[in-house]
Amino acid sequence: MKSTTTNSRRDFLKMSAITGGGLVLGFNWFSAEASAPVVFSSVIAGDINFNSYLSIATDGAITIMSPNPELGQNIITSFPMVVAEELEADWKMVKIVQANLDNKFDRQLTGGSGAVPHSWKLLRNAGATAKFMLIEAAAKKWAVPASECIAANSFVNHSRSGKKLGFGELAEAASKIPVPATVKLKDRKDFKLIGKSSVRNVENLKIVTGKPLFGLDFYRDGMVFAMIQRPEQFGMKLKSFDGSIAKSMPGIIDVVSFKNNVAVVGKSTWQVLKARKMLKIEYEKEFALESTEDHDKLFLNLMDNGQATVRRKDGDVDAAFKNAAKVIKGEYQCPFISHSPMEPMNFFAHVRPDGVELVGPTQTPGRARAEISKLLNIPEDKITVQITRLGGGFGRRLYNDFALEAAELSSIIKAPVKLIWTKEDDMTAGTYRPAVRYRFEAALDASGNLTGYKLRGVGINSGNPTREHNFPSGSVENLLIDSVEHKSPITTGAWRAPITNFLAFAEQAFIDEVAQAAGKDPVQFRLDLLAKAKKSPVGDIRYDISRMEGVIKMVAEKSGWGKKKDVSQGFSVYFSHASYVAQVADVVMRAGLPVVKKIYAVSDCGQVVSLNGASHQVMGGIVDGLGHAMYSKLSFRDGAADQNNYNTYRLIRMKEVPEIETHFVDNGIDPTGLGEPALPPTGGAVANAIFKATGKRVRNQPFIEEDVFKTIS
């Protein structure tokens, strides 16, 4: 193996001696130059700054920083697992610390199911590089070839002589070993942590004992509390306000206004909450005050008459439909939904003359800093961001409106402030999953082959509501996918598995309709299409046909597809975030109503890091997908949401969750996404099973409002 020492390249790997003797192996987790490890020598870290460093202390304690925000995806556990695996560290001696925002990290964010895929090789290299240096140090000490030494369980062993030294004992000597340019990674058959179920969430003890972990748990001496009254109707703007009564109430320090906001500042949450109700505010109309009724009409109108943007066009669709033996049409619609994580939005900000301190739950701390820098005209290097644990995100905390509000407010009142949103604020202030309607059309020839396919998506602030290169694109010769967008004052954003959280349901339900019309088994129908795409691909295909076939076949086998007499089964498969998930839902009829009894899920996300965590993500994704498909909606009247808390906005509860069985394809491919991909297929599997059980199609979310859940048959 080639060893090099250079300090001419970027500091992928930094190394320095800790005071008291120890090894700090620093590495940029996300450097684009992962293959170019570099020694950064002669830094004496007297005052140890652990940011971006893996450190090994002389007592053998290993500290690994976790740079990405943790919102329940288990990244704070799975990242260090990968490092520890290659390092051959004793997991019991690994301490994990949440990093603050630091330029040493790249992609220090949570979103797009991208963290593990992005960092997999870098994390492995980091662990393997440290292991290499520890082994070299031991070999040098014992004057034996390094090839005869083996690292295991935080020790380096020389089996021939029986010599053994702990990582802590070797740390200082290892710090003087040249950093290798390349290192050998472990064979996956030798993994002890990766792909296993043995490692649990490293923050479990803190969570179950109520330690302050979350943004809302952050308190600082001298800080004030604030809430903001925002316009209740989208389309309204602030005209005037009278805060005199609110300001006279106990504990209230100030009432101030900025943008469309009126902020009440006080000494405690409850006092602020009470005073906010006493604000007298006048709003005036700025934009149209839209209602769900208007949107329903818009959907129908734009579906036929909208100015569509073509997303993908293959072959001659008009001819295919003209020559079709059979044409099938299906329309599907979903409402706006709120992210409503358990922890409402909140942020701490202290804008001082010399800089800004920010603390709180955000999925994108770097973006928060950049936006606040621009807002307050303060350079980014004067702004710090402490990342707290997030009480859920689901996409809502990709946006930093609440952090910006806190910073602007702090700059006005010149005090450290914790801005708190109530659940009602959370649910009524926007950034929703967009409402969308789809129209699908399919042309079949006389033998039941799919010869033409059309999809039009109409969305409200949806951007492109299609995923034009996903299946069945590539398997149909004549295809047209286009979309129409209506711009609305009601704000929207990414919601876990953006767009596909609903598109997958609609598409998978429609393909079921087509299979039925073709007189074919829904699973076989999809396999036939994939076989066709493999043999004669049409246009651009961005999914891996074999991986999709793999999950389809495996879920059919695991669920006993087509063999069960006592349940009605529905099938669905979807590709998102570079992963493949196929699901089968078992539905039974109870008291004349369909009930989801069980869902089988087979996921191909490549190499699973924590089997325990991965299974949990899949189950959570399915519960999330099922819950929102079944129960959740936000409707609007004159720009105001009709639902504002969990009493009117319904989330799934324990008694409503079916049994879930999860399986993973064990193929050793480098990891692809997992935080989101299990969610999209669920609605389709359930809808198709409901059809099998009742002969009726649910076409609109939430399903609970569909006739099939109202009629006792």
């Binding site: 919102l71 329940g72 995806q73 288990n74 649990r200 969430n201 923050e203 479990n204 003890l205 969570i207 179950v208 004992t209 109520g210 330690k211 302050p212 979350f214 809302l216 748990d217 308190y219 509390f225 106990p250 405690s268 949450t269 409850w270 006092q271 009470k274 994580p341 358990m342 922890e343 409402p344 644990r389 997030l390 009480g391 859920g392 995100g393 689901f394 109530t422 659940k423 009602e424 325990n612 965590g613 949990h616 993500q617 189950m619 959570g620 994704g621 399915i622 519960v623 999330d624 819950g627 808390n645 969990y646 009493n647 989330l651 799934i652 509860r653 324990m654 008694k655 969750v657 879930i660």
Partner: protein, 152 residues
């Protein structure tokens, strides 16, 4: 404003607050006990669940003036070392995803097990149905309550 002396986790703590202040905000803003969470503020989600004289109580709608001499137990006081059978089961089953609702889930389950140490799955579901987990960790919550019930 008035001074309230509260029996919390076996200690007498005091707070100078208004009579209608929910126990939740007294615990969090005034007594530094932040393990009890604010989720919805209207007793719908259970994130704020504490024990008042042993009963699972939604502290977000329970005014401090109603507490009187009642014994209040929060997640911080459920056990001395975080080793209540439920806390151990929560770790063993690896229940938490984001973790925000879990203190409330555990306190709800703890009150159940005190009254009914060997609940059936149905009884567990009926009780735990009042607590929302937005991450959807319901399967493991149920399993952990069951596991803890075998250790009590």
């Amino acid at each position: 404003m008035a001074i309230y002396k509260l029996q919390v986790n076996g200690k007498t703590l005091q707070a100078d607050v208004e009579a209608d202040t929910p126990l939740l905000w007294v615990l969090r803003d005034h007594l530094g006990l932040v393990g009890t969470k604010y989720g919805c503020g209207i007793a719908q989600c259970g994130a704020c669940t504490v024990h008042v004289n042993g009963s699972a109580t939604r502290s977000c709608v329970y005014p401090v003036s109603a507490v009187g001499t009642s014994q209040v137990i929060t997640i911080e006081g459920l056990s001395e070392k975080g080793d209540h059978p439920l806390q151990k089961a929560w770790d063993e089953i690896d229940v938490a995803q984001c973790g925000y609702c879990q203190a409330g889930q555990i306190m709800t389950a703890a009150a159940l097990l005190k009254q009914n140490p060997k609940p059936s799955m149905d009884e567990i579901e009926v009780t735990m149905n009042g607590n929302i987990c937005r991450c959807g960790a319901y399967h493991r919550i149920r399993e952990a309550v069951k596991l803890a019930s075998t250790k009590i």
